[in-house]
C-alpha cells in the first residue's frame, strides 16, 4: 500500500470549512420561544440528525484519499551479480603453528588467526565462487570453487597444521589453484596465496606456476605472514621469500602484501576485498494497482445514503 500523490491528501482540508459551516449554520425558523420544546425528549430519529453530515465527511475523506491515488503492489528487486572466482591458497606448514599473532587477548596459532580472517573475508563476498587449496609438503584442494559459503566455512574449520606435510611447497599450491581455475569461465579469476615461509619443497617452481597463472589470467595476490624478527626470537619462523612472492604477484598482475600482525592481516584482506569488486546489477521494477475505484464507490454510496436520508426522514426545515 502506498499513495502516489500524498500531497493531494490536502484536499481533505475541505473538511475544516465544512465542519465550521456545519457548526455555525444558523438557518432556522424563528419561533416565539423554545421554552416548551426544551422539555420534549428528542425522538430516535432526531438522535441520528448528524448522520448525513457524518456521511458527507466520510465521502469527502474517501475522495481525498482516492485523489492521492492509493496503490497496492509489490516492487521486485532482482539482483544479478557477476561473481569472481577466487581460490584461497593457504599454507599449513609447521611454521603456521607460531603464536606471534594475537586475537583479542588470546594468542592462537597463526593458522587460527588466518582462518578467522579468511572466514570474515568470505562472508563479505557472497557473490563469488570461492575455493580453497592448502599446501605443505604437497598441495591439494581442500574445497572446490563454490557459492555455498556455509560449506566452505566448514571446510575452513577442518584445516589443520600439517595436514599436507610440514614443508612449504608454494609452487605446488599455486599450481593446484591454477589447475582449479583453468577450466572455469569466470571473467576474472583471483588467487590469494598466503604463506609464512619460502618455497622448500614440491615439484613446481613458484615462478613457473606464476607464469602458468598469468597465462590463464589468474591474478594472484600474495601475502607474507609473520612478525618481524625481534631480539630473542630472531628468525623464528621468519624466512619469507619476499622476493619470489613479489615476483609472483608482479607476473600475474597482482600485489604482494606483508602482514606482520593481526591488524595488518585484516587490512590486507580488506584491501583485496576492495580491489576485487564484484559487479552487481540490481533490477527493481514495480507493479502497482490503483485502488481508487473502491474508495470512489464508498464515497458514492455515502453520498447517496446522505441524499436519501436528507430527502426522506431526516429532511430538515428550513433546508
Amino acid at each position: 500500500m502506498r499513495l502516489a500523490d500524498p500531497w493531494l491528501l490536502a484536499a481533505a482540508l475541505i473538511l475544516i470549512p465544512l465542519w465550521l459551516i456545519y457548526q455555525h449554520r444558523r438557518l432556522a425558523l424563528r419561533f416565539p420561544s423554545l421554552g416548551v420544546i426544551r422539555g420534549v425528549p428528542p425522538s430516535r430519529w432526531a438522535r441520528l440528525r448528524h448522520v448525513p453530515f457524518a456521511l458527507r465527511c466520510l465521502a469527502v475523506a474517501a475522495l481525498a484519499i482516492a485523489l492521492a491515488r492509493p496503490q497496492s503492489g509489490n516492487s521486485n528487486t532482482q539482483r544479478t551479480a557477476e561473481g569472481l572466482d577466487i581460490v584461497i591458497i593457504l599454507d599449513t606448514s609447521g611454521s603456521m603453528n607460531n603464536r606471534d599473532f594475537t586475537w583479542g587477548r588470546e594468542r592462537p596459532t597463526r593458522l587460527e588467526v588466518v582462518k578467522k580472517v579468511i572466514t570474515a573475508f568470505i562472508n563479505e563476498r557472497p557473490d563469488d565462487r570461492i575455493g580453497m587449496v592448502v599446501f605443505g609438503t604437497e598441495a591439494f584442494t581442500q574445497a572446490p570453487l563454490t557459492l555455498d559459503h556455509e560449506v566452505l566455512g566448514r571446510f575452513i574449520d577442518h584445516i589443520q597444521i600439517g595436514m599436507a606435510g610440514e614443508a612449504t611447497a608454494i609452487g605446488d599450491g599455486l599450481a593446484t589453484a591454477v589447475n582449479r581455475l583453468k577450466s572455469v569461465e569466470a571473467k576474472s579469476k583471483v588467487a590469494i596465496l598466503l604463506t609464512d615461509g619460502g618455497n622448500n619443497s614440491g615439484r613446481v617452481d613458484p615462478l613457473a606456476a606464476a607464469q602458468a597463472a598469468a597465462s590463464i589470467g589468474v591474478k594472484t595476490y600474495t601475502i607474507g605472514v609473520g612478525s618481524p624478527p625481534q631480539p630473542g626470537n630472531a628468525g623464528q619462523g621468519f624466512d619469507i621469500d619476499e622476493k619470489s612472492l613479489e615476483e609472483i604477484a608482479k607476473t600475474t598482475g597482482g600485489k604482494y602484501f606483508r602482514a606482520t600482525n593481526t591488524e595488518t592481516l585484516i587490512k590486507v584482506y580488506d584491501t583485496i576485498d576492495k580491489l576485487e569488486k564484484t559487479k552487481v546489477k540490481i533490477d527493481s521494477f514495480a507493479n502497482y494497482e490503483d485502488l481508487f475505484t473502491s474508495l470512489v464507490a464508498i464515497a458514492l454510496v455515502c453520498l447517496i445514503i446522505e441524499l436519501l436520508l436528507g430527502l426522506s426522514r431526516l429532511r430538515r426545515l428550513p433546508s
Binding site: A28, L29, F31, P32, L34, I37, A46, L314, R315, L317
Partner: protein, 293 residues
C-alpha cells in the same frame, strides 16, 4: 412618514374596531369596570332648563337663589393599554403576526374607551418601555394610539413584563383599567404583577399562535428562539414528540393561568387565527355577570 399601505391598514383597523364597538360591543361593557356611580362635583346657579330635581335646597336657601348640584360621573375611566412588541410577538404562522393581533385588540379597546368618553393611554414595551403615550381623550388620540401600536418596530431583544408594569405603576396615578397584551414569554414578573393588580384593574390578554400548542408534521425542523437566539432541532414527524409538545404547552398554559389568578388578574386568550373580539366580548360579559351576581 407613513407609507400608504400602513395608512390603509390603520384605517382598516380603525373602521373594523369602530364597527365592532357599535355592533358586537354595543352594550356598555366597560361599565363592568365602573366605579361607584355619581359623584358630587360642585354647585352652580340654576339656569332654566336644568333638572329641577338637581336643585340643592340647602344652598338655595342660604343664597336665596336657586342652585343646582353638578354631578360628575365617577366613571371617568382611564384605560391603559400595554402592548408587548418583543421579538416573540413577531411570530405568526397564518398570515397575521401575534403583534398585529395584539394591535387589533388594542385598537378595539381604544375605540371602546373613546366611545365611552374615557381616557386611553399606551405603553409599548419589549425589554424596555419603547413608547409611552399618556392617557387622553378624543378621536384624534385614538388615531395616534392605533398608529403607534400598528407601526411600532420593536427594538428590544427580550420581554421584560416586570419593567413595563413598574412604569405603569409610576405613570398611572389614579386607579385605571389596564390591559396587558403579551405572550408572557418572560420571567420574574410575579411581584410586579401583584402590585399592579392591587393598584389597577389589570387584565392579562394572552396572545398565542396555534404553533405554540401544536406542531405540524413536517419532518425535522430547526428552530431558533426569537429572543434568546438558541437553536433546537425538533423531529415533528414523531407523534410522541408532538404529543409531548402539546402536553408541555398545556402545562405551561396552566401554570401561567394559575400565576395570573393568584395575582388577582383577570385573563383571556386570543390567537392569530380566530377573531380578536369574540374572546373579548365573552370575557367582558362574564365579568359583568359576576359583578351583578
Amino acid at each position: 412618514m407613513l407609507s400608504p399601505e400602513i395608512i390603509q391598514q390603520i384605517k382598516k383597523v380603525q373602521f373594523k374596531a369602530g364597527h365592532l364597538v357599535t355592533t358586537a360591543l354595543a352594550g356598555n361593557y366597560l361599565s363592568a369596570f365602573k366605579g361607584r356611580g355619581m359623584e358630587f362635583d360642585e354647585v352652580r346657579e340654576y339656569v332654566p332648563g336644568d333638572d329641577v330635581r338637581l336643585i340643592d335646597w340647602n344652598v338655595t336657601a342660604r343664597m336665596s337663589q336657586p342652585y343646582v348640584k353638578v354631578l360628575r360621573e365617577e366613571r371617568e375611566l382611564t384605560l391603559m393599554l400595554m402592548v408587548d412588541v418583543s421579538p416573540s410577538q413577531a411570530y405568526g404562522s397564518s398570515g397575521r403576526r401575534k403583534q398585529e393581533v395584539a394591535a387589533e385588540l388594542a385598537a378595539v379597546l381604544a375605540y371602546l374607551a373613546i366611545r365611552n368618553n374615557d381616557k386611553v393611554g399606551l405603553i409599548v414595551f419589549s425589554d424596555h418601555v419603547e413608547q409611552y403615550i399618556p392617557p387622553k381623550k378624543g378621536r384624534g388620540h385614538v388615531w395616534n394610539i392605533i398608529r403607534a401600536v400598528l407601526t411600532h418596530k420593536g427594538a428590544g431583544r427580550r420581554t421584560d413584563i416586570s419593567g413595563a408594569l413598574e412604569s405603569l405603576l409610576q405613570h398611572a396615578g389614579r386607579r385605571s383599567m389596564c390591559f396587558l397584551i403579551s405572550d408572557f414569554w418572560a420571567s420574574d414578573f410575579d411581584k410586579q404583577l401583584r402590585l399592579a393588580a392591587r393598584r389597577h384593574d389589570l387584565v392579562a390578554v394572552r396572545v398565542s399562535d396555534p404553533r405554540e400548542h401544536e406542531l405540524p408534521d413536517v419532518g425535522m425542523v430547526a428552530l431558533q428562539d426569537s429572543e434568546t437566539g438558541d437553536f433546537v432541532e425538533v423531529d415533528t414527524s414523531d407523534s410522541r414528540v408532538r404529543s409531548a409538545y402539546h402536553k408541555a404547552a398545556v402545562v405551561r398554559e396552566k401554570e401561567l393561568l394559575g400565576q395570573l389568578r393568584k395575582a388577582g388578574v383577570g385573563t383571556f386568550a386570543i390567537d392569530t387565527v380566530a377573531s380578536v373580539t369574540e374572546p373579548l366580548v365573552r370575557y367582558l360579559r362574564e365579568r359583568e355577570r359576576r359583578r351583578y351576581r
